[in-house]
Amino acid sequence: MALPIMSTDNLHLFYGKKEALKGINLDFQEKGITALIGPSGCGKSTFLRCLNRMNDLIDDVTITGNVMFKNQNVYAPDTDIVALRKEVGMVFQQPNPFPFSIYENVIYGLRLAGVRDKQVLDEAVERSLRQAAIWDEVKDDLHKNALALSGGQQQRVCIARVLAVSPDVLLLDEPTSALDPVSSHVIEETLLQLRYDYTVITVTHNLQQASRIADRTAFFLQGELIEVSDTKKMFMDPQKQQTQDYISGRFG
């Protein structure tokens, strides 16, 4: 197998004294979608936020173990967090566009990188919005405030905003849980297109969603990684009893 683009090695995370992740070893191959599933509070979101160091923002968090991204230890002292987060983009549970226009939302990351050329920006906006499957809906009012869009549209603008900086890895933290079924479906379609160009890692509490879109699925329970395998295998023939119980709806 090829070298994984991202991997964790014995990753522990403590909130104060409470151990939220109990030694996670997980590899992510390039491209494709990996879904992280598990009941609430099992640590799947926490794990996701370790991958681009968003947990740094929370006080009183201790992390041990390694997270490797392209042979670079993410938690090494010489890691440039800003550069890392440009490579490992993130979409959150709540759609969180800035209170600016759609256009300015999408180019935010490029502006940070100092891109001024109007033509480059215009092209990036169109490309990203097309990739996020929202271009046709908003192309006529790019300068409208993004907060005026519906929740599903806002979430796709957020995806476009991340895609505009061309990350390698796309982290999604329950991207559809705040949306209605129709919007969720559109986002799923979007992700299915994105998996050819990006390494997509998505947290979901929706098992059907995982089985519909993911190439691989990882099952978390109480801070531990119980099982990881190809999605089909996971749902048809789980190896562990706990996985079997969870996906057949016996708990969670």
């Binding site: 800003v82 969180n96 935010y108 405030n145």
Partner: protein, 306 residues
Amino acid sequence: MDKIKEKLQQTSQATRSERRGRFISFLALILILVVVIAIFWFVAAKGLATFFQNHINVWDFLSGKTWDPSVKGANGRPEVGALPMIVGSFLITLLSALVATPFAIGTAVFMNEIAPRNGAKILQPVTELLVGIPSVVYGFIGLSVVVPFVRHVFGGSGFGILSGTFVLFVMILPTVTSMTADTLKSVPRYYREASLALGATRWQTIHKVVLRAATPGILTAIVFGMARAFGEALAVQMVVGNATLLPHNLVSPSSTLTSVLTEGIGNTVMGSLQNNALWSLALVLLIMSLFFNVIIRIIGRKGELR
């Protein structure tokens, strides 16, 4: 059956106490309304008397450069030109807001974004303390520290707009700071997360997202500070020099609407022109305060729409 009917038709205890509560709060509202209207009516009646009873031209009042109500001027009318005070008030307000704003934003950003724990622990009580100091104390410090300092560094007598600006700067700083800090606090956490997750540094996040999202609130804070500066009387009067002259420069003695009012209102006879003219100044003050209020409301409403 009849018992239930009877019970339902009776006014219950809860309904009665609800009515009583509504009556009391309605009464309080009426009282406050009456007080506000009475103040407006009183100041307006007195202030307009200058123009209707003493037949002073409104334009002469607003644009005249000489203030000496007891002396008749060249045109045979008393000299009641309020322009020096209006200019003084505006200059001192604008300058102090201009000086205070960067400091206030800087302090608020430090308190909220850079050192939320220690910053808030130390700076919060300090700013609150600054609000609590009586204005006469500010004036006294201004008189014994700021005025000599200005005289020494910038020349002149030390009394003037510049000293007033320095004193007011310290006085409005806590107001603007704490209001700005509140606005920054209300900027949702997920804006910051989204920005950081896109590879922004903390400073870029503060500058491009937090401050930008908070702009309407910060503007409101500044206008509030200006309203305070405009209305402050005692401390300003102690350092501004109280010469009713158009200010030539920032260190020449001048005066503001409030300083002339506090100085003169006890020394004039009710109903005389001198007294009425002071009321006209008060009317100008009141209208300006109203104007500041309207601006605050407009900014607030714009902020909601976003």
